[in-house]
């Protein structure tokens, strides 16, 4: 099975402010690996560093043994890294369908693209109603659907997902977690960043906790669920 | 030897960037040539140096550089301005700072006639000289129904005014006139209108770039009417840019062909020898003359602005490559304008042309 992503000791900074401080994580093939951490811990920065949008000052990224560090973002995508960025990041002046088509930019087979498009519309019927609406005018939740749909259009070996549940209604949050699990079942490794700890750990196999740009805890979902520190920080007062 | 001679500075001002830079650079080169020739002459008392300045053909820039050269006490006099608007704007500056100047290219009458400043001289004639020659020439050829196309700068407007005045004294008539802006590219609307009016002749008052555009678009639109221009179109690039289409365009210019000037052969020869990459352009000889006049005055009375001015004021029958120069009471040197026709890719003096000899015919003849 493929989709084994490893970061080794990566560090990165915005100007003088170092946000990643030697982060090493492994996303195992076929598994869902999650990254937890408070606001501003550096989760998004880690995702950006993996995809190549944030230059690293140290360390390396490998996918199935291929070093990615020297590649530009689009080349990393070509190697099989997919991404649902934080805050959706749709192309606001494009229609829903065009957004989805951009997701399939690297695919050549027109029939396959059409097939995937149909599948996305099946998963999100609301998008099927709105094929020609500008993505920028959609409601917050609808945009999330487009963003996940867009990521589904390519066939990555590993999918990086940054806070997909942000702003989604409870039912849709559940759906999206179910969708993520389905994607995973279809053989795509997943690296998931979330605030919604309980539901995340429910579907994840393995997790990392990041704080101040460093990995401070790691373990299987159960281990993390039973960690006292984690409970205090994330589950709130019950 | 040159080292022991005192250095005297003379300013040159003209448009060296922008649309009129060809004329400006030609003028600068010609003035430079005059200075070089003088410096090479062992008999001269001083070592001359030309200080060239760019007025961009804009009055405000002109005022700036005029102030700059006028307030530089080491400069005794100036060879100034090709563009009339700039020349008009700067006369007060020269007067205020008492810098004698000789205009080498601007032809609006008011530059010398619009004031009483003793500092301002002009060697290249005025628009009036041209208009007179041109009107009698064209009406003499039998063109009675005129349309004038003029640019909306003071140059084109000035011509329009004087043409109107002169035509009123003849039995010809200006049936319509069109103002066009100096950077206009397309004239189909004006030309189709003219096509509808059917005049006998289209007279253009403006500079070469515009003159070329209008002539070539007349051809495209099938406006088959005789075309005439003022001195502004009379440059080598007019016939170059139009090729065969230029054939038969008539024009009148204050400058006679350099070769036909008394000292013209010498000028052409020396200009070629000096190795300038750009041509002298028709007004080049006048820049040469202006610089020479100033240097002659300096030779006579030394580098003193006031004395140089007085000598210049009194210029009478002074020999030059453009013939004898005489300043009138407004320090203006009138020029007998020469008539030209474009023939086989060259501007030819009308009298020497195949048209005058009847071998070829202008349109409507």
């Amino acid at each position: 099975m493929t989709g084994n992503l490893e970061t080794k000791n990566i560090s990165a900074a915005y100007g003088n402010a170092q946000v990643l401080n030697g982060v090493s994580i492994v996303a195992r093939p076929g598994a869902i690996t999650c990254i937890l951490g408070a606001n501003g811990a550096g989760k998004t920065s880690l995702i950006r560093a993996i995809i190549g949008l944030l230059p690293t000052i140290d360390g390396s990224v490998e996918l199935d043994g291929t070093p990615l560090s020297s590649l530009r973002p689009h080349a990393r995508v070509a190697h099989g890294v997919g991404c649902v960025p934080e805050g959706r990041k749709l192309f606001p002046k494009m229609t829903v369908e065009e957004n989805l088509r951009v997701g399939a930019y690297l695919m050549q087979d027109k029939q396959l693209i059409q097939k995937r498009l149909t599948k996305v519309y099946e998963t999100f019927p609301r998008l099927a109603e709105r094929k020609q609406q500008f993505a920028g005018t959609m409601s917050g939740g609808e945009q999330a659907m487009v963003s996940i749909g867009r990521a589904l259009m390519s066939e990555p070996r590993i999918l990086l997902i940054d806070e997909p549940s942000l702003g989604l209604s409870p039912a849709l949050v559940r759906d999206s977690f179910a969708i993520i699990r389905d994607i995973n079942k279809s053989g795509i490794s997943i690296l998931l960043v979330e605030q919604n700890v309980r539901q995340t750990l429910a579907i994840a196999d393995y997790g990392y906790v990041i704080s101040q740009g460093k990995v401070v805890a790691r373990g299987t979902s159960e281990e993390l669920l039973n960690d006292e520190e984690m409970k205090r920080a994330y589950f709130g007062i019950q | 030897s040159a080292q022991t001679k005192e250095t005297v500075k003379i300013a040159f001002i003209g448009p060296m960037s922008g649309g009129n830079s060809a004329a400006g650079i030609g003028g600068r080169n010609s003035a430079e040539l005059a200075v070089r020739l003088r410096n090479a002459d062992p008999a001269s008392k001083y070592n001359y140096q030309l200080v060239p300045m760019d007025d961009e053909c804009k009055p405000n820039v002109g005022i700036q550089v005029a102030t700059r050269v006028s307030t530089d006490r080491s400069i005794v006099a100036g060879v100034t301005h090709y563009c009339s608007a700039v020349a008009i704007a700067t006369v007060d500056v020269y007067h205020r700072f008492r810098l004698p100047v000789v205009v080498w290219g601007a032809i609006l009458p008011a530059i010398t006639y619009g004031n009483e400043h003793k500092e301002i001289h002009r060697v290249n004639g005025s628009m009036l000289d041209e208009v007179r020659a041109s009107t009698s020439f064209l009406t003499g050829l039998g063109y009675k129904k005129w349309v004038i196309v003029h640019d909306t700068t003071d140059y084109g407007n000035g011509f329009l005014r004087f043409f109107k005045e002169r035509i009123a004294e003849t039995n010809a008539e200006i049936v319509s006139s069109f103002g066009v802006s100096a950077d206009q590219q397309d004239f189909s609307a004006e030309l189709l209108k003219i096509k509808g009016i059917q005049p006998q002749i289209v007279v253009f008052a403006g500079l070469t770039p515009l003159g070329v555009r209008i002539r070539s678009q007349m051809e495209r639109l099938g406006v088959d009417i005789q075309y005439a221009g003022v001195s502004g179109i009379m440059s080598a690039s007019y016939v170059e840019a139009l090729g065969a289409t230029a054939e038969g365009t008539v024009s009148v210019h204050n400058g006679a062909p350099a070769e036909s000037l008394p000292g013209g052969r010498m000028f052409v020869e020396q200009y070629g020898k000096a190795g300038f990459t750009d041509p002298a352009e028709p007004y080049g000889p006048y820049a040469f003359v202006a610089a020479s006049l100033i240097m002659d005055a300096v030779e006579e009375v030394g580098p003193d602005r006031e004395k140089v001015r007085d000598v210049l004021n009194a210029t009478k029958d002074h020999e030059s490559v453009a013939g004898p120069i005489t300043f009138d009471d407004h320090r203006h040197h009138a020029v007998a304008s020469t008539k030209y026709v474009a023939q086989d890719g060259h501007w030819v003096r009308w009298e020497d042309s195949l048209y005058a000899s009847g071998q070829r015919h202008l349109k409507g003849q």
Binding site: - | M53, K58, V65, S84, I88, D92, T152
Partner: protein
Amino acid sequence: MKLTNLTTSFAVAAIGTLLTGVILVAENQWAVIGALLAAAALSIVLARLKIGMVLASVLNESSAWVALLIPLGGVIIGFALHEEDFVLMMLATVLIYGLACVGLTIQFGYAGVINFAGAAFFGIGGYTAALLGEWGIPSLLIIVAGGMVAAAIGCILILPVLRTKGHYAALITIAFGLLFRSFLEVNHTLGGPQGLKVEGASVAGHSLLDGIQLGSFQASFYLNYVLLALGVFTICFILARNLEKSWIGVNFDAVREDPIGASVFGVNVAYWRIMAFVIGNFVIGLAGAIFAMMQNFIAPSNFTFSDSLIMLSIIVLGGLGNLWAILPAAILVVVMPEKLQEIGEFRILVFAVLVVLVLRFRPSGLFPRALRKFRREVAQ
């Protein structure tokens, strides 16, 4: 803290005065290039050490009197070079363009209202001065009238501008600038392409066109204009500075940054846009009137689209919204082409390349605007 602020401000003023003086008098091409290189090196060092930002905030947070360093420096240069007509004329031109740029800063730097017709409003001020000059009206009144007419005509233009935004608004001002110029050119009642002569300014019956003569002290008449421009510039500078550090300044910024967000918090977006445009045009009109009086002559070709661009380049090169940056940038943009006369026909090319390089490597200008902080006001 107080002392360092004071010494820093004085040091800045001293260095600025010195550099300005040197650039103004430098005749020799190498001296000019040397001064340019020194200024470039200085700006790189400032950027490297991040001192630029610190300086900007020091100047921004000092009390209003620091603005008086400008007339101080100006007067020092003016009197030191009192016989150099040309140099003084350049200095006055710099101040006048600087004044117009204060207006543009209020419009574009503060409220974000783009104005590509700066030269047109400058011209309106100038033509007003030309027309009123014939009537023997006191010069100071004429200058104010120049500002008022520019502001009034701006009021008409702002209406279409308000309905649009971004590049659409830019087009409206570009179109106005172009039509203003072509109108002047074809319309003969205002002198046509040949332009108009303008009466020089006179103060208390004294024509500013006469040189100054006090005992043995003899100065060029351009010193008069330097002092006049310096006076008006300083007043407008201080007022603009107060404007920036006021609730109105806060509103301008909000309107520029996010008009929709601002409107939800009660900000009258249209009103502030109009205000900025009108105040700005008033200041530009003042500058135009003084300019016309000093030059004694104006013509349509003084007020072209490229002149508007020159004004905009000044505020952008200096650092958008930073009043202090206007003068160094104006010196660069106004004096440099003049000093580069020796390279003749290449100077426009050189100038264009220079601007491109600055924009490319210092996109926020040579001296970016400092954050507004009300520290001083709060501390009092």
